[in-house]
Amino acid sequence: MIPLLGISTQALFGQLLLGLINGAFYAMLSLGLAVIFGMLNIVNFAHGALYMVGAFAAWFLLSAFHIGYWPALILAPLGVALFGMIIERTMLKRLAGLDHIYGLLLTFGLALIIQGVFQNQFGASGQPYPLPEQLKGGTNLGFMYLPTYRAWAVVFSLSVCLFTWFMIEKTRLGAVLRAATENPELTRAFGINVPRLITLTYGFGVGLAALAGVLAAPIYQVRPLMGADFIIVVFAVVVIGGMGSILGAIGAGFMLGVVEGLTKVFYPQAANIVVFVIMVAVLLVKPTGLFGKKL
């Protein structure tokens, strides 16, 4: 064991890996935000609440219908995406073309209402959700004990992130989507139903949040404020990565997870502000974010 910077390399590797795992959650949530902001120009403050709804949906499927983790991984995001699309159709659509602040206020209000309803219904300390049988246990890596579930979480979310990036940047569907954002009028002239595209994109974005929620359910308490605690950090991640940049959101998510993990070793008291310190620094030097396009 060689000590490095006052801690053993063993501990350092362990913390790096944990940071990467936490980064996976940041990446998935900030990805959804980035997709929604990039395509709809909406700052979706309800994202944390919908992440929470995703986790609760998984819990509800299990406790009411005995539907386990694997089906929930598909069903819960679909349900939440549907809910998101209803929100988009009935509310957010009316704000198209207005200042960002309207969308922000509406989604923030929605988040408070959703959290309030869940808190009233389920209390603050939340509900238990067990680890899926197949992913119990773990492996001793020598420098740390890696629970199988955490390994799964990081691999799964990385795949989802890359798939999303590929879809938006490299496929025809993505090209149409980007065109619709750039110039909706012209895209419509090509016979493409832009409003439907926007609704589907919002559904996809919040579906990602719900997916992260299901992924989080077995390791964090499923409780009404689980998203509220997360969302501010995730917004900082998006800002650091560059608003609307898909790759930026993914990269910044993983990077900040690691930085936060390391802070927890060297100066734990600063762990929950380090992301914001970095955000300030990035905004001062490069206001568009690390991977952001020029404004």
């Binding site: 501990a11 939340g126 509900q127 238990p128 579930y149 077995p218």
Partner: protein
């Protein structure tokens, strides 16, 4: 003419109010209504206070008891400004619960300045009856000394002679770590290290990994509410207990056990001064409580403490005939033995410490649990005179030595 009639009515209302005003007492429940401790106190504390008011018989003695409720959001500035507003606008004579040591320590000073009464049930720091004690406050349910003295001592004596702490980074966590350290050292154990985690932390994997690599025999969780729940859940995931380390949940409540579920929580040892299923009296109170509670939850010890403290307070106010002089009410409360269904017979010491037994409990296995909320069994009872810090060790200036 109409004006005169109206004025007459108004005058009548005012005189009626003036007569009634002589016998009005106002109870303010200040607690965490939405944060990590909301199920420990929260609306349940309001229900408990209302039960005490209804059962006090004050209405029959010509008293009007009013209840106000507020959420301090676990923020000291919010808590103190609510306390000031309540006192300055005459909305409360007594503040109960508080459930956050940071808020409680600050509110205690305001209560003293305004000569009101502070019945703390939820906040844990033993400083409330130590250097921060005042003639206007009583620490009702439990404190960090009692937790350390029960769970900490039991685990050290059972062979857990090296400890690593995961500590909530504010007044409560630090007090709990300090008091447990003292007990562990006194019983021949040693402290290997500690790591701080912020209040309301979702992910404890980093802290758990550090605790794991410390090779300490016991990992002490000096946190509470949703924080301990998350830490316990993740400790199971990281195989902490399988690898031979023991987890000491220094403060968990029955609501946390409920939230964790028995498969994860089973085997944990924890300390309560009230557990709903101890005897017929505790069950009777719990039944009345859960009829009004959301999802028929059983009361936590904090909520039981709110009930018990409000009941005793109202008795003292009735005896004095007025809640106006807070210090006098507290003096009367200290002079009178306590007796209620939740805590049985007890007393209040000069430093403001309410005295009753503490129970070392163990979470049952899913197979042992026979009915809803059948979560724990008593493995040791710490008698009232041993459960709390002896007066001889008190730093409270009120204690004459």
């Amino acid at each position: 003419m109409k004006k005169i009639v109206l004025a007459g009515v108004a005058l009548g209302v005012m005189t009626a109010y003036a007569f009634a005003a002589d016998k009005v007492v106002k109870v303010g429940v200040l607690t965490d209504g939405s944060g990590p401790y909301a199920d420990v106190g929260g609306v349940g504390s309001q229900i408990a206070a209302q039960l005490a008011i209804d059962e006090s018989g004050m209405a029959g003695k010509g008293w009007k008891v009013e209840l106000v409720y507020a959420d301090h959001l676990n923020k000291v500035d919010v808590g103190t400004s609510i306390a000031r507003e309540w006192f300055d606008q005459g909305k409360a004579d007594v503040i109960v619960d508080t459930l956050n040591s940071g808020v409680a320590l600050a509110v205690g000073q305001i209560v003293k300045d305004k000569n009101k009464v502070f019945l703390n049930s939820g906040a844990a720091s033993s400083d409330l009856t130590g250097k921060a004690c005042t003639p206007n406050q009583i620490h009702w349910t439990y404190d960090t000394y009692a937790l350390a003295n029960s769970t900490g001592k039991a685990m050290t004596k059972a062979g857990g002679d090296s400890w690593y702490f995961i500590t909530a980074d504010y007044a409560f966590g630090k007090a709990l770590e300090r008091d447990t350290t003292a007990v562990v050292s006194a019983n021949g154990g040693k402290i290997i290290g500690n790591v701080y985690a912020p209040l309301n932390n979702a992910d404890f994997s980093s802290q758990l990994l550090q605790a794991q690599s410390s090779k300490a025999k016991v990992i002490g969780l000096a946190n509470a509410g949703a924080d301990s729940a998350n830490a316990i859940k993740q400790a199971a995931e990281f195989g902490i207990t399988q690898s031979g380390q023991k987890l000491a949940a220094l403060l968990i409540f029955i609501s946390d056990v409920n939230a964790l579920g028995l498969p994860v929580a089973q085997g944990l040892e924890f300390t309560e001064t009230y557990y709903w299923d101890l005897n017929d009296d505790t069950r009777a109170f719990a039944d009345r409580f859960s009829q009004k509670a959301k999802n028929h939850a059983k009361p936590t010890m904090v909520q039981a403490g709110v009930y018990s403290s409000v009941l005793h307070y109202l008795k003292a106010v009735d005896g004095l005939g007025s809640p106006a002089d807070g210090a006098a009410v507290v003096a009367k409360m200290k002079a009178t033995p306590t007796d209620d269904q939740a805590f049985g017979k007890g007393s209040i010491r000069e430093d403001g410490r309410k005295i009753h037994p503490a129970y070392l409990l163990q979470v049952k296995t899913p197979a042992e649990s026979k009915y809803p909320w059948d979560y724990a069994k008593v493995i040791a009872t710490i008698p009232a005179d041993e459960a709390f810090r002896p007066l001889s060790q008190s730093e409270c200036p009120l204690v004459k030595k």
